[in-house]
């Protein structure tokens, strides 16, 4: 046979969308604003809580979204909710990022979630979000979170410039493919 034995689409088309939605698996995690909340949680001890909090805290500077102006950062995260990061632009200016609003305890809870810092955006201030802007829940304590949302957060670089590609396509005014 000269053709594929079978084909499948997991994202394109109506049938594929239904399939993708079914694949959303949940995993165990716990969300806290403070270490104290963690210690108060039944079944958890202070040692574990401090260790997990420190692990989340250590990632914060690297994975938090970055801004070149405090105003832009506060626009997204709310007044007083941003801090200066240890990053600098190449011209020496400050880089801003949101304050860490809490942390997610992952593997300790027996699930597949990665322990990481959490944030809250201005327009949806009740929801905890990961550094990759995935909502993970609203209540403090044990919970189930979408497995795809709680992988190790990605590092955020400070993007100095955008729009340096695409000019030819705009000029040509039609599609690129040949």
């Amino acid at each position: 046979m000269k053709r594929s034995r079978r084909i499948a689409l997991v994202m394109m088309g109506t049938s594929a969308l239904a399939l993708a939605a079914c694949e959303e698996r949940k995993t165990e995690a716990a969300l806290f604003e403070t270490v104290e909340q963690c210690v108060a949680e039944q079944g958890l001890v202070a040692d574990q809580c401090y260790r997990e909090f420190d692990a989340a805290r250590a990632q914060h500077a690297q994975v938090a979204p970055k801004y070149t102006s405090q105003t832009d950062c506060e626009e997204d995260f709310g007044q007083g909710a941003c801090e200066t990061s240890s990053y600098r632009t190449t011209t020496g200016n400050s880089v801003f990022m949101p304050l860490m609003a809490g942390f997610m305890m992952g593997q300790m809870m027996g699930g597949r979630a990665h322990t990481q810092p959490l944030y809250r955006s201005r327009d949806d201030a009740k929801t905890f979000r990961t550094a990759d802007n995935r909502p993970v829940g609203r209540t403090v304590g044990r919970t189930l979170v979408p497995e795809r949302s709680v992988a190790k957060p990605s590092s955020k670089l400070y993007t100095q410039q955008r729009g340096g590609f695409g000019a030819r396509a705009r000029a040509a005014g039609y599609r690129v493919g040949a």
């Binding site: 053709r3 594929s4 034995r5 594929a16 100095q160 410039q161 590609f165 695409g166 000019a167």
Partner: protein
């Protein structure tokens, strides 16, 4: 090879919607056309198209070998000097290629002639791989075709397999330019294949690519772009504002930089120079080559870099018989002996043979009224029946 009239499937538009084929009738003009199909014999497919395509691919590699060792070749291809070592290193490092489409003039008898190689940004991938496959299955089910017919089309299996073997660690970003539904269709399909290969993916537009202080490229959420499938031509990437930052970015591109040597019509002249007389090649010369004069009566003049059949000039009996508009040509031209596409009831098919990881993997036929296949061409499915 025979062009046959066939009834369209009763429900094909619904099937298209179910399979995410959104661009079958762009701007109200028919693109997908299943009221006809081309029938081939297995021998025609294997001996005249499949095997030659793989042989030509190896010949193309010889051209790349020569180009990266001889800067005068890169210069002839109008590749900017600041990218010469980048292109050479991408080849020396063995950066993997994913796909390409060789366009042939073929009439069912005699050797297929390679017109050009879309080695960098070929489209019509989804309709070749998926919708043509579904058409064949359903045409057999609905009695439009007899049971047991086949198709030259293992694209889907090979794409999933190849994407899993490129060595991508981390997220694969996929980008095309904004505002083209058809390009987006190709990118969405490659993303779908990548997911099936177990990769994490992130789709974006080339306009949203950012540049970090570290020199790395970033996506719209400021994440570094480590692996980028780009449906955007190398010559444009190189010429644009961020172009000079590519070599230091650390981003691995698919297709890799060395494809810039092959996605250039100058390839056809270099192939002829190195493999003159090969049955699947047409005599082709750079315009300033003395050999070009020998083709003065019957030839087609093509810009080194152009897309969608733009800026072509066809000459028969010394007269210009067709010319297409466009903005290309400043880098120079090649002159290729004229191989008129065969006429089937006034329609002229061009056979696009797909290569995945350099292996022949399928075919898509596009059909136009004229001798030049433009973006008004229709996609017509094919089947194999001895």
């Amino acid at each position: 090879m025979e062009r046959m009239s066939l009834p369209a499937r009763r429900n094909w538009q619904q099937v298209a919607a179910e399979h995410g084929f959104t661009f079958h009738t762009p701007d109200g003009e028919r693109y997908w056309d299943e009221t006809h199909a081309y029938r081939f014999t297995l021998r025609q497919i294997e001996e005249d198209l499949e095997n030659p395509a793989e042989e030509l691919e190896q010949m193309c590699f010889s051209v790349v070998e020569r180009a990266v060792a001889d800067e005068s070749v890169l210069e002839r291809l109008a590749i900017p000097q600041r990218f010469w070592s980048y292109v050479a290193e991408s080849w020396a490092d063995g950066e993997r290629n994913l796909y390409g489409r060789m366009d042939f003039c073929y009439d069912g008898a005699g050797p297929a002639k390679l017109l050009e190689y879309n080695a960098d940004t070929p489209t019509a991938l989804y309709e070749s791989s998926i919708f043509q496959w579904v058409w064949l299955e359903q045409a057999m089910e609905q009695g439009i075709l007899p049971a047991g017919v086949d198709q030259f089309n293992s694209l889907h299996e090979r794409l999933v397999d190849a994407l899993g073997h490129i060595g991508i660690d981390g997220v694969l970003h996929l980008a095309c330019a904004r505002d083209s539904e058809e390009d987006l269709g190709t990118v969405e399909y490659v993303e779908d294949c990548a997911r099936q290969a177990g990769l994490a993916t992130c789709r974006m537009f080339v306009e949203d690519i950012g540049l970090a202080g570290s020199g790395q490229f970033t996506d719209a959420d400021d994440r570094p772009v480590a692996w980028l499938f780009k449906l955007y031509p190398w010559e444009w990437l190189m010429a644009e504002e961020f172009g000079d930052r590519i070599p230091g970015s650390g981003t691995r591109f698919i297709e890799p930089g060395w494809k810039a040597v092959l996605s250039n019509k100058g390839l056809m002249a270099l192939l002829w120079e190195m493999f003159e007389g090969h049955p699947n090649l047409l005599p082709t010369f750079f315009q300033d080559d003395p050999g070009a004069a020998g083709l003065s009566g019957h030839h087609v003049r093509k810009p080194l870099l152009s897309r969608e059949g733009a800026n072509l000039r066809l000459v028969e009996d010394g007269r210009v018989v067709a010319e297409t508009g466009g903005e290309y040509g400043e880098e120079g031209y090649v002159v290729q002996a004229l191989a008129p596409l065969p006429s089937h009831a006034g329609r002229r098919p061009m056979c696009g043979v797909w290569l995945v990881a350099s292996e022949a993997a399928g075919m898509g036929i596009r059909e136009d009224d004229g001798m030049v296949t433009t973006d008004d061409a229709c996609f017509v499915p094919h089947f194999i029946l001895d």
